[in-house]
Homo-oligomer: 276 residues x 2
Protein backbone atom coordinates (compact mmCIF):
# COMPACT_ATOMS: atom_id res chain seq x y z
CA UNK A 1 0.00 0.00 0.00
CA UNK A 2 1.57 3.29 -1.08
CA UNK A 3 0.38 6.77 -0.37
CA UNK A 4 -1.54 8.57 -3.07
CA UNK A 5 -0.48 12.13 -2.31
CA UNK A 6 2.79 13.96 -1.89
CA UNK A 7 3.09 17.62 -0.91
CA UNK A 8 5.60 19.68 -2.91
CA UNK A 9 6.13 23.35 -2.00
CA UNK A 10 2.47 24.42 -2.02
CA UNK A 11 0.57 21.64 -3.73
CA UNK A 12 -0.69 18.12 -3.11
CA UNK A 13 0.09 15.96 -6.11
CA UNK A 14 -0.13 12.28 -7.05
CA UNK A 15 2.89 10.45 -5.62
CA UNK A 16 3.81 8.78 -8.90
CA UNK A 17 4.14 12.22 -10.56
CA UNK A 18 6.13 13.87 -7.78
CA UNK A 19 9.33 15.21 -9.30
CA UNK A 20 11.80 18.07 -9.12
CA UNK A 21 13.70 19.74 -11.93
CA UNK A 22 17.24 18.55 -12.47
CA UNK A 23 18.62 22.01 -11.55
CA UNK A 24 17.84 21.26 -7.89
CA UNK A 25 20.95 21.41 -5.69
CA UNK A 26 20.12 17.95 -4.30
CA UNK A 27 20.70 16.50 -7.76
CA UNK A 28 23.52 18.87 -8.70
CA UNK A 29 25.41 18.94 -5.39
CA UNK A 30 23.77 16.56 -2.93
CA UNK A 31 22.54 19.45 -0.78
CA UNK A 32 19.45 19.13 1.39
CA UNK A 33 18.02 18.13 4.76
CA UNK A 34 15.15 15.98 5.90
CA UNK A 35 13.36 14.62 8.90
CA UNK A 36 11.22 11.54 9.36
CA UNK A 37 8.60 10.62 11.93
CA UNK A 38 6.09 7.85 12.30
CA UNK A 39 2.37 7.85 12.95
CA UNK A 40 0.71 5.13 15.02
CA UNK A 41 -3.05 4.81 14.70
CA UNK A 42 -3.22 8.22 13.04
CA UNK A 43 -1.12 9.95 15.73
CA UNK A 44 2.27 11.47 14.90
CA UNK A 45 4.88 10.35 17.44
CA UNK A 46 7.32 12.87 18.96
CA UNK A 47 6.22 15.32 16.25
CA UNK A 48 7.44 18.38 18.14
CA UNK A 49 10.93 16.88 18.51
CA UNK A 50 11.05 16.15 14.78
CA UNK A 51 9.82 19.62 13.84
CA UNK A 52 12.34 21.22 16.22
CA UNK A 53 15.15 19.23 14.63
CA UNK A 54 13.94 19.93 11.08
CA UNK A 55 13.92 23.70 11.70
CA UNK A 56 17.30 23.50 13.44
CA UNK A 57 18.83 21.49 10.57
CA UNK A 58 17.44 24.07 8.11
CA UNK A 59 18.84 27.04 10.01
CA UNK A 60 22.26 25.48 10.45
CA UNK A 61 22.37 24.53 6.75
CA UNK A 62 21.41 28.08 5.65
CA UNK A 63 18.02 26.91 4.42
CA UNK A 64 14.63 28.48 5.09
CA UNK A 65 11.49 26.40 5.55
CA UNK A 66 8.73 28.40 3.82
CA UNK A 67 6.20 27.73 6.58
CA UNK A 68 5.88 28.28 10.31
CA UNK A 69 5.79 25.10 12.40
CA UNK A 70 2.04 25.62 12.89
CA UNK A 71 1.50 25.88 9.12
CA UNK A 72 3.66 22.81 8.57
CA UNK A 73 1.62 20.87 11.14
CA UNK A 74 -1.57 21.83 9.31
CA UNK A 75 -0.11 20.64 5.98
CA UNK A 76 0.92 17.34 7.60
CA UNK A 77 -2.57 16.92 9.04
CA UNK A 78 -4.12 17.54 5.62
CA UNK A 79 -1.72 15.06 3.96
CA UNK A 80 -2.62 12.44 6.57
CA UNK A 81 -6.32 13.02 5.97
CA UNK A 82 -5.94 12.72 2.19
CA UNK A 83 -3.81 9.59 2.33
CA UNK A 84 -5.69 7.83 5.13
CA UNK A 85 -2.68 5.82 6.29
CA UNK A 86 -2.99 5.69 10.10
CA UNK A 87 0.24 3.71 10.49
CA UNK A 88 2.87 5.45 8.46
CA UNK A 89 6.22 7.12 8.08
CA UNK A 90 6.21 10.77 7.03
CA UNK A 91 9.33 12.31 5.52
CA UNK A 92 9.84 16.06 5.21
CA UNK A 93 12.68 16.92 2.80
CA UNK A 94 14.03 20.39 2.06
CA UNK A 95 16.39 20.38 -0.92
CA UNK A 96 18.80 23.20 -1.80
CA UNK A 97 16.40 24.32 -4.52
CA UNK A 98 16.80 25.47 -8.10
CA UNK A 99 20.21 27.04 -8.59
CA UNK A 100 20.85 29.10 -11.74
CA UNK A 101 24.50 28.07 -11.92
CA UNK A 102 24.09 24.70 -10.20
CA UNK A 103 26.30 25.79 -7.31
CA UNK A 104 25.18 28.93 -5.49
CA UNK A 105 22.61 28.26 -2.81
CA UNK A 106 19.36 29.94 -3.91
CA UNK A 107 17.01 31.92 -1.68
CA UNK A 108 14.12 29.48 -2.04
CA UNK A 109 14.23 25.75 -1.65
CA UNK A 110 12.03 22.77 -2.44
CA UNK A 111 9.90 21.29 0.33
CA UNK A 112 8.71 17.72 -0.25
CA UNK A 113 6.50 15.81 2.20
CA UNK A 114 5.84 12.15 1.55
CA UNK A 115 3.91 9.51 3.48
CA UNK A 116 4.13 5.75 3.25
CA UNK A 117 2.49 2.91 5.08
CA UNK A 118 4.62 1.69 7.97
CA UNK A 119 3.48 -0.46 10.87
CA UNK A 120 5.62 0.03 13.97
CA UNK A 121 6.57 -3.07 15.90
CA UNK A 122 6.34 -2.19 19.60
CA UNK A 123 7.91 -5.45 20.82
CA UNK A 124 11.59 -6.18 21.17
CA UNK A 125 13.03 -7.75 18.04
CA UNK A 126 15.15 -10.38 19.79
CA UNK A 127 16.72 -11.46 16.47
CA UNK A 128 18.66 -8.22 16.55
CA UNK A 129 21.28 -7.24 13.99
CA UNK A 130 24.92 -7.81 13.20
CA UNK A 131 27.16 -4.83 12.42
CA UNK A 132 30.58 -4.42 10.87
CA UNK A 133 32.74 -1.48 11.96
CA UNK A 134 34.15 1.14 9.59
CA UNK A 135 36.36 4.17 10.25
CA UNK A 136 34.34 7.20 9.14
CA UNK A 137 33.18 10.47 10.63
CA UNK A 138 29.95 11.80 9.15
CA UNK A 139 30.38 15.36 7.87
CA UNK A 140 28.04 18.09 9.16
CA UNK A 141 26.99 15.46 11.68
CA UNK A 142 24.81 17.68 13.88
CA UNK A 143 22.33 18.30 11.07
CA UNK A 144 20.08 15.71 9.45
CA UNK A 145 21.31 16.17 5.88
CA UNK A 146 20.49 13.94 2.92
CA UNK A 147 24.17 12.93 2.68
CA UNK A 148 24.30 9.15 3.00
CA UNK A 149 26.96 8.70 0.28
CA UNK A 150 29.17 6.59 2.51
CA UNK A 151 26.29 4.45 3.77
CA UNK A 152 25.04 3.67 0.26
CA UNK A 153 28.59 3.13 -0.97
CA UNK A 154 29.21 0.63 1.85
CA UNK A 155 26.19 -1.56 1.03
CA UNK A 156 28.29 -4.19 -0.80
CA UNK A 157 30.91 -4.06 2.01
CA UNK A 158 28.18 -4.76 4.58
CA UNK A 159 26.89 -7.72 2.58
CA UNK A 160 30.41 -9.10 2.06
CA UNK A 161 30.93 -8.99 5.81
CA UNK A 162 27.69 -10.87 6.44
CA UNK A 163 26.37 -7.92 8.44
CA UNK A 164 23.09 -5.99 8.52
CA UNK A 165 24.53 -2.54 8.99
CA UNK A 166 27.76 -0.61 9.51
CA UNK A 167 28.93 0.92 12.79
CA UNK A 168 30.97 4.07 12.21
CA UNK A 169 33.90 4.87 14.48
CA UNK A 170 36.25 7.82 14.14
CA UNK A 171 39.78 6.53 14.66
CA UNK A 172 38.52 4.09 17.29
CA UNK A 173 35.89 6.34 18.88
CA UNK A 174 32.46 4.77 18.44
CA UNK A 175 29.92 7.02 16.71
CA UNK A 176 26.68 5.73 15.16
CA UNK A 177 25.16 3.62 12.42
CA UNK A 178 24.01 5.48 9.27
CA UNK A 179 20.34 5.77 10.24
CA UNK A 180 20.41 5.19 13.98
CA UNK A 181 22.25 6.07 17.17
CA UNK A 182 24.33 3.38 18.81
CA UNK A 183 24.39 2.42 22.51
CA UNK A 184 26.32 0.07 24.73
CA UNK A 185 25.56 -1.23 28.22
CA UNK A 186 28.78 -1.81 30.12
CA UNK A 187 29.55 -4.33 32.85
CA UNK A 188 28.61 -1.71 35.50
CA UNK A 189 25.18 -1.52 33.80
CA UNK A 190 25.74 2.01 32.56
CA UNK A 191 23.80 2.72 29.34
CA UNK A 192 26.05 4.85 27.13
CA UNK A 193 25.74 6.61 23.76
CA UNK A 194 28.38 8.71 21.98
CA UNK A 195 28.27 12.39 22.88
CA UNK A 196 30.15 14.18 20.11
CA UNK A 197 29.69 14.46 16.33
CA UNK A 198 26.64 12.23 16.03
CA UNK A 199 23.11 12.87 14.84
CA UNK A 200 20.86 14.27 17.59
CA UNK A 201 18.38 11.41 17.32
CA UNK A 202 14.85 11.88 18.58
CA UNK A 203 14.66 8.42 20.20
CA UNK A 204 18.15 9.07 21.61
CA UNK A 205 16.87 12.29 23.17
CA UNK A 206 13.78 10.61 24.59
CA UNK A 207 15.82 7.78 26.03
CA UNK A 208 18.30 10.19 27.65
CA UNK A 209 15.40 12.09 29.22
CA UNK A 210 13.48 9.06 30.54
CA UNK A 211 12.30 9.52 34.11
CA UNK A 212 11.52 7.22 37.02
CA UNK A 213 13.81 4.31 36.28
CA UNK A 214 16.80 2.70 37.98
CA UNK A 215 19.24 2.94 35.02
CA UNK A 216 22.20 5.21 34.57
CA UNK A 217 21.77 6.57 31.03
CA UNK A 218 24.64 8.79 29.89
CA UNK A 219 26.06 10.42 26.81
CA UNK A 220 29.81 10.25 26.66
CA UNK A 221 32.33 9.19 24.06
CA UNK A 222 33.66 5.63 24.20
CA UNK A 223 36.10 3.53 22.24
CA UNK A 224 35.93 0.27 20.33
CA UNK A 225 38.09 -1.21 23.12
CA UNK A 226 35.45 -0.31 25.70
CA UNK A 227 32.77 -1.68 23.39
CA UNK A 228 34.63 -5.02 23.34
CA UNK A 229 33.59 -5.47 26.96
CA UNK A 230 29.95 -4.50 26.51
CA UNK A 231 27.27 -6.61 28.16
CA UNK A 232 24.64 -5.39 25.68
CA UNK A 233 24.46 -3.12 22.64
CA UNK A 234 21.57 -1.68 20.69
CA UNK A 235 20.61 1.01 18.20
CA UNK A 236 17.82 3.56 18.47
CA UNK A 237 15.82 5.13 15.66
CA UNK A 238 12.32 6.28 14.81
CA UNK A 239 11.49 3.05 12.95
CA UNK A 240 13.34 0.72 15.32
CA UNK A 241 12.87 2.24 18.78
CA UNK A 242 15.40 -0.12 20.39
CA UNK A 243 16.95 -2.88 18.30
CA UNK A 244 19.57 -5.20 19.86
CA UNK A 245 23.00 -5.45 18.24
CA UNK A 246 24.05 -9.06 18.82
CA UNK A 247 27.28 -9.23 16.87
CA UNK A 248 30.05 -6.75 16.06
CA UNK A 249 32.69 -7.69 13.47
CA UNK A 250 31.69 -11.34 13.80
CA UNK A 251 32.01 -11.49 17.59
CA UNK A 252 29.02 -11.78 19.94
CA UNK A 253 28.12 -8.85 22.21
CA UNK A 254 27.88 -10.17 25.79
CA UNK A 255 26.15 -13.56 25.63
CA UNK A 256 25.06 -12.86 22.05
CA UNK A 257 21.39 -12.52 22.98
CA UNK A 258 19.04 -9.55 23.30
CA UNK A 259 19.75 -8.01 26.70
CA UNK A 260 17.56 -7.46 29.73
CA UNK A 261 18.34 -3.76 30.00
CA UNK A 262 17.64 -3.25 26.29
CA UNK A 263 14.28 -4.91 26.85
CA UNK A 264 13.47 -2.89 29.97
CA UNK A 265 14.39 0.39 28.27
CA UNK A 266 12.17 -0.47 25.30
CA UNK A 267 9.23 -0.98 27.67
CA UNK A 268 9.83 2.44 29.23
CA UNK A 269 10.15 4.01 25.78
CA UNK A 270 6.96 2.42 24.48
CA UNK A 271 5.18 3.73 27.57
CA UNK A 272 6.40 7.22 26.63
CA UNK A 273 5.30 6.72 23.01
CA UNK A 274 1.83 5.65 24.15
CA UNK A 275 1.51 8.73 26.37
CA UNK A 276 2.75 11.02 23.55
Amino acid sequence: MTAQYVYINDTFIAAEKASVLITDLAIQRGYGIFDFFKTIGGKPIFLQDHLDRFYTSARKMHLTIPYTPAELKAIIAELMEKNDLPDSGIRMTLTGGYSADGYQLPETHNLIITQQHFLMNLDLNTSGIKVVTYDYQRQLSGMKTIDYSMAIWLQPFIRENNADDVLYHNDGQVKEVPRANFWMVNEAQEVITAKSSVLPGVIRKNLLSLENHPYKIVERDFSLQELDHAAEAFITSTTKHILPVLQIDGRPVGDGKAGKISSALLNLLVEKVRKN
Copy 2:
Protein backbone atom coordinates in the same frame (compact mmCIF):
# COMPACT_ATOMS: atom_id res chain seq x y z
CA MET B 1 21.43 31.63 -24.15
CA THR B 2 20.40 28.36 -22.56
CA ALA B 3 20.31 24.97 -24.15
CA GLN B 4 17.03 23.71 -25.46
CA TYR B 5 17.59 20.02 -25.00
CA VAL B 6 18.62 17.75 -22.18
CA TYR B 7 19.15 14.02 -22.51
CA ILE B 8 17.62 11.84 -19.77
CA ASN B 9 18.13 8.06 -19.88
CA ASP B 10 17.04 7.47 -23.48
CA THR B 11 15.28 10.65 -24.55
CA PHE B 12 16.01 14.23 -25.56
CA ILE B 13 13.60 16.54 -23.78
CA ALA B 14 13.14 20.29 -23.38
CA ALA B 15 15.53 21.55 -20.70
CA GLU B 16 12.84 23.41 -18.76
CA LYS B 17 10.90 20.16 -18.33
CA ALA B 18 13.87 17.98 -17.35
CA SER B 19 13.05 16.40 -14.01
CA VAL B 20 13.48 13.25 -11.97
CA LEU B 21 11.06 11.62 -9.57
CA ILE B 22 11.62 12.38 -5.90
CA THR B 23 12.39 8.71 -5.18
CA ASP B 24 15.79 9.17 -6.85
CA LEU B 25 18.67 8.41 -4.48
CA ALA B 26 20.25 11.79 -5.30
CA ILE B 27 17.27 13.49 -3.65
CA GLN B 28 16.79 10.87 -0.95
CA ARG B 29 20.43 10.23 -0.04
CA GLY B 30 22.68 12.54 -2.05
CA TYR B 31 24.03 9.65 -4.10
CA GLY B 32 25.37 10.15 -7.60
CA ILE B 33 28.35 10.98 -9.80
CA PHE B 34 29.00 13.38 -12.65
CA ASP B 35 31.59 14.64 -15.05
CA PHE B 36 31.88 17.93 -16.90
CA PHE B 37 33.77 18.92 -20.02
CA LYS B 38 33.84 21.97 -22.24
CA THR B 39 33.50 22.39 -25.97
CA ILE B 40 35.40 25.08 -27.84
CA GLY B 41 34.19 25.93 -31.30
CA GLY B 42 32.11 22.75 -31.38
CA LYS B 43 35.00 20.52 -30.28
CA PRO B 44 34.88 18.62 -26.97
CA ILE B 45 38.12 19.14 -25.04
CA PHE B 46 39.87 16.18 -23.35
CA LEU B 47 36.68 14.17 -23.92
CA GLN B 48 38.39 10.80 -23.57
CA ASP B 49 39.85 11.80 -20.18
CA HIS B 50 36.41 12.87 -18.98
CA LEU B 51 34.75 9.70 -20.25
CA ASP B 52 37.46 7.55 -18.65
CA ARG B 53 36.93 9.31 -15.33
CA PHE B 54 33.11 9.11 -15.61
CA TYR B 55 33.21 5.35 -16.16
CA THR B 56 35.78 4.93 -13.38
CA SER B 57 33.68 6.98 -10.94
CA ALA B 58 30.65 4.87 -11.85
CA ARG B 59 32.43 1.57 -11.33
CA LYS B 60 33.94 2.63 -8.01
CA MET B 61 30.55 3.91 -6.82
CA HIS B 62 28.80 0.63 -7.79
CA LEU B 63 26.88 2.36 -10.59
CA THR B 64 26.44 1.19 -14.18
CA ILE B 65 26.34 3.61 -17.10
CA PRO B 66 23.70 2.19 -19.48
CA TYR B 67 25.81 2.89 -22.59
CA THR B 68 29.22 2.02 -23.94
CA PRO B 69 31.63 4.94 -24.29
CA ALA B 70 31.04 4.89 -28.06
CA GLU B 71 27.28 5.08 -27.58
CA LEU B 72 27.70 7.87 -25.05
CA LYS B 73 29.88 9.82 -27.51
CA ALA B 74 27.18 9.46 -30.16
CA ILE B 75 24.53 10.76 -27.74
CA ILE B 76 26.77 13.72 -26.85
CA ALA B 77 27.30 14.47 -30.55
CA GLU B 78 23.56 14.38 -31.17
CA LEU B 79 22.91 16.65 -28.17
CA MET B 80 25.51 19.12 -29.49
CA GLU B 81 23.91 19.09 -32.90
CA LYS B 82 20.44 19.69 -31.49
CA ASN B 83 21.51 22.50 -29.19
CA ASP B 84 23.93 24.21 -31.55
CA LEU B 85 26.08 25.70 -28.79
CA PRO B 86 29.67 25.49 -30.09
CA ASP B 87 31.15 26.98 -26.91
CA SER B 88 29.64 25.13 -24.03
CA GLY B 89 29.93 23.07 -20.88
CA ILE B 90 28.45 19.59 -20.97
CA ARG B 91 27.61 17.79 -17.75
CA MET B 92 26.95 14.05 -17.53
CA THR B 93 25.26 13.08 -14.26
CA LEU B 94 24.44 9.56 -13.12
CA THR B 95 22.21 9.55 -10.04
CA GLY B 96 21.61 6.56 -7.78
CA GLY B 97 18.25 6.02 -9.44
CA TYR B 98 14.78 5.18 -8.20
CA SER B 99 14.97 3.24 -4.96
CA ALA B 100 11.86 1.44 -3.71
CA ASP B 101 12.74 1.99 -0.05
CA GLY B 102 14.72 5.19 -0.56
CA TYR B 103 17.93 3.54 0.65
CA GLN B 104 18.97 0.41 -1.23
CA LEU B 105 20.97 1.15 -4.36
CA PRO B 106 18.85 0.02 -7.34
CA GLU B 107 20.12 -1.84 -10.41
CA THR B 108 19.35 0.98 -12.82
CA HIS B 109 20.24 4.62 -12.44
CA ASN B 110 19.31 7.93 -14.04
CA LEU B 111 21.63 9.39 -16.68
CA ILE B 112 21.23 13.11 -17.30
CA ILE B 113 23.25 15.03 -19.90
CA THR B 114 22.92 18.81 -20.00
CA GLN B 115 24.63 21.46 -22.09
CA GLN B 116 24.95 25.17 -21.42
CA HIS B 117 26.63 28.01 -23.23
CA PHE B 118 30.13 28.64 -21.82
CA LEU B 119 32.88 30.64 -23.49
CA MET B 120 36.34 29.55 -22.34
CA ASN B 121 38.84 32.30 -21.65
CA LEU B 122 42.22 31.12 -22.94
CA ASP B 123 44.21 34.02 -21.45
CA LEU B 124 45.59 34.18 -17.94
CA ASN B 125 43.17 35.86 -15.56
CA THR B 126 45.72 38.00 -13.72
CA SER B 127 43.10 39.19 -11.21
CA GLY B 128 43.24 35.71 -9.72
CA ILE B 129 41.34 34.67 -6.62
CA LYS B 130 41.60 34.82 -2.85
CA VAL B 131 41.05 31.68 -0.82
CA VAL B 132 40.38 30.96 2.83
CA THR B 133 41.60 27.67 4.32
CA TYR B 134 39.36 25.14 6.05
CA ASP B 135 40.16 21.80 7.67
CA TYR B 136 38.19 19.19 5.74
CA GLN B 137 38.87 15.96 3.91
CA ARG B 138 36.44 15.21 1.07
CA GLN B 139 34.88 11.78 1.47
CA LEU B 140 35.16 9.26 -1.40
CA SER B 141 37.65 11.76 -2.82
CA GLY B 142 38.89 9.63 -5.72
CA MET B 143 35.49 9.63 -7.39
CA LYS B 144 33.70 12.64 -8.85
CA THR B 145 30.54 12.35 -6.75
CA ILE B 146 27.78 14.97 -6.50
CA ASP B 147 28.63 15.51 -2.83
CA TYR B 148 29.46 19.18 -2.40
CA SER B 149 27.60 19.55 0.92
CA MET B 150 30.59 21.11 2.63
CA ALA B 151 31.33 23.50 -0.24
CA ILE B 152 27.75 24.77 -0.40
CA TRP B 153 27.56 24.96 3.38
CA LEU B 154 30.75 27.07 3.47
CA GLN B 155 29.46 29.70 1.01
CA PRO B 156 28.59 32.20 3.78
CA PHE B 157 31.94 31.45 5.51
CA ILE B 158 33.80 32.24 2.27
CA ARG B 159 31.93 35.53 1.88
CA GLU B 160 32.52 36.48 5.53
CA ASN B 161 36.24 35.92 5.00
CA ASN B 162 36.25 38.14 1.93
CA ALA B 163 37.43 35.21 -0.17
CA ASP B 164 36.40 33.74 -3.52
CA ASP B 165 36.78 30.10 -2.63
CA VAL B 166 37.87 27.72 0.12
CA LEU B 167 41.10 25.72 0.20
CA TYR B 168 40.66 22.41 2.00
CA HIS B 169 43.47 21.00 4.10
CA ASN B 170 43.37 17.82 6.14
CA ASP B 171 44.94 18.57 9.51
CA GLY B 172 47.47 20.88 7.84
CA GLN B 173 48.03 18.84 4.66
CA VAL B 174 46.93 20.90 1.66
CA LYS B 175 44.31 19.18 -0.53
CA GLU B 176 42.17 21.04 -3.09
CA VAL B 177 39.42 23.59 -3.58
CA PRO B 178 35.88 22.24 -4.01
CA ARG B 179 35.82 22.34 -7.81
CA ALA B 180 39.51 22.52 -8.72
CA ASN B 181 42.91 21.09 -7.89
CA PHE B 182 45.37 23.31 -6.09
CA TRP B 183 49.04 23.87 -6.91
CA MET B 184 51.97 25.74 -5.44
CA VAL B 185 55.28 26.76 -6.98
CA ASN B 186 58.01 26.71 -4.37
CA GLU B 187 61.15 28.83 -4.10
CA ALA B 188 63.09 26.11 -6.00
CA GLN B 189 60.54 26.55 -8.83
CA GLU B 190 59.05 23.10 -8.31
CA VAL B 191 55.40 22.98 -9.37
CA ILE B 192 53.57 20.81 -6.83
CA THR B 193 50.05 19.44 -6.40
CA ALA B 194 48.76 17.21 -3.61
CA LYS B 195 49.10 13.50 -4.32
CA SER B 196 46.69 11.77 -1.95
CA SER B 197 42.93 11.91 -1.39
CA VAL B 198 42.14 14.55 -4.00
CA LEU B 199 40.01 14.50 -7.13
CA PRO B 200 41.87 13.13 -10.17
CA GLY B 201 41.35 16.34 -12.18
CA VAL B 202 41.59 16.21 -15.95
CA ILE B 203 43.54 19.47 -16.21
CA ARG B 204 45.71 18.24 -13.33
CA LYS B 205 46.45 15.06 -15.30
CA ASN B 206 47.22 16.98 -18.47
CA LEU B 207 49.51 19.38 -16.62
CA LEU B 208 51.38 16.52 -14.94
CA SER B 209 51.91 14.88 -18.34
CA LEU B 210 53.07 18.00 -20.20
CA GLU B 211 56.10 17.34 -22.35
CA ASN B 212 58.98 19.44 -23.69
CA HIS B 213 59.25 22.08 -20.98
CA PRO B 214 61.86 23.07 -18.41
CA TYR B 215 59.62 22.82 -15.32
CA LYS B 216 59.65 20.24 -12.59
CA ILE B 217 55.98 19.30 -12.17
CA VAL B 218 55.34 16.84 -9.34
CA GLU B 219 52.55 15.34 -7.31
CA ARG B 220 53.39 15.03 -3.64
CA ASP B 221 51.69 16.01 -0.44
CA PHE B 222 52.64 19.31 1.15
CA SER B 223 51.65 21.26 4.24
CA LEU B 224 50.20 24.69 4.93
CA GLN B 225 53.62 25.58 6.37
CA GLU B 226 55.31 24.79 3.07
CA LEU B 227 52.58 26.73 1.26
CA ASP B 228 53.44 29.78 3.42
CA HIS B 229 56.70 30.02 1.48
CA ALA B 230 55.20 29.57 -1.99
CA ALA B 231 56.37 31.84 -4.79
CA GLU B 232 53.17 31.23 -6.76
CA ALA B 233 49.91 29.33 -6.33
CA PHE B 234 47.11 28.48 -8.71
CA ILE B 235 44.13 26.21 -9.23
CA THR B 236 43.33 24.04 -12.24
CA SER B 237 39.93 23.02 -13.54
CA THR B 238 38.05 22.43 -16.77
CA THR B 239 36.48 25.89 -16.74
CA LYS B 240 39.54 27.73 -15.37
CA HIS B 241 42.53 25.96 -16.91
CA ILE B 242 45.03 27.78 -14.68
CA LEU B 243 43.78 30.51 -12.36
CA PRO B 244 46.27 32.27 -10.05
CA VAL B 245 45.62 32.26 -6.30
CA LEU B 246 46.93 35.60 -5.08
CA GLN B 247 45.90 35.55 -1.44
CA ILE B 248 45.52 32.81 1.17
CA ASP B 249 43.86 33.64 4.49
CA GLY B 250 44.38 37.35 3.80
CA ARG B 251 48.11 37.07 3.11
CA PRO B 252 49.63 37.52 -0.36
CA VAL B 253 51.18 34.54 -2.13
CA GLY B 254 54.73 35.52 -3.20
CA ASP B 255 54.56 39.09 -4.44
CA GLY B 256 50.76 38.90 -4.60
CA LYS B 257 50.65 38.96 -8.38
CA ALA B 258 49.98 36.33 -11.05
CA GLY B 259 53.23 34.39 -11.44
CA LYS B 260 55.49 33.81 -14.42
CA ILE B 261 55.46 30.03 -14.12
CA SER B 262 51.66 29.99 -13.83
CA SER B 263 51.55 32.02 -17.03
CA ALA B 264 54.07 29.83 -18.87
CA LEU B 265 52.23 26.65 -17.85
CA LEU B 266 48.95 28.09 -19.08
CA ASN B 267 50.52 28.73 -22.48
CA LEU B 268 51.72 25.13 -22.67
CA LEU B 269 48.32 23.88 -21.59
CA VAL B 270 46.45 26.00 -24.13
CA GLU B 271 48.76 24.64 -26.81
CA LYS B 272 47.73 21.13 -25.73
CA VAL B 273 44.05 22.12 -25.77
CA ARG B 274 44.39 23.54 -29.28
CA LYS B 275 46.01 20.32 -30.48
CA ASN B 276 43.33 18.19 -28.78
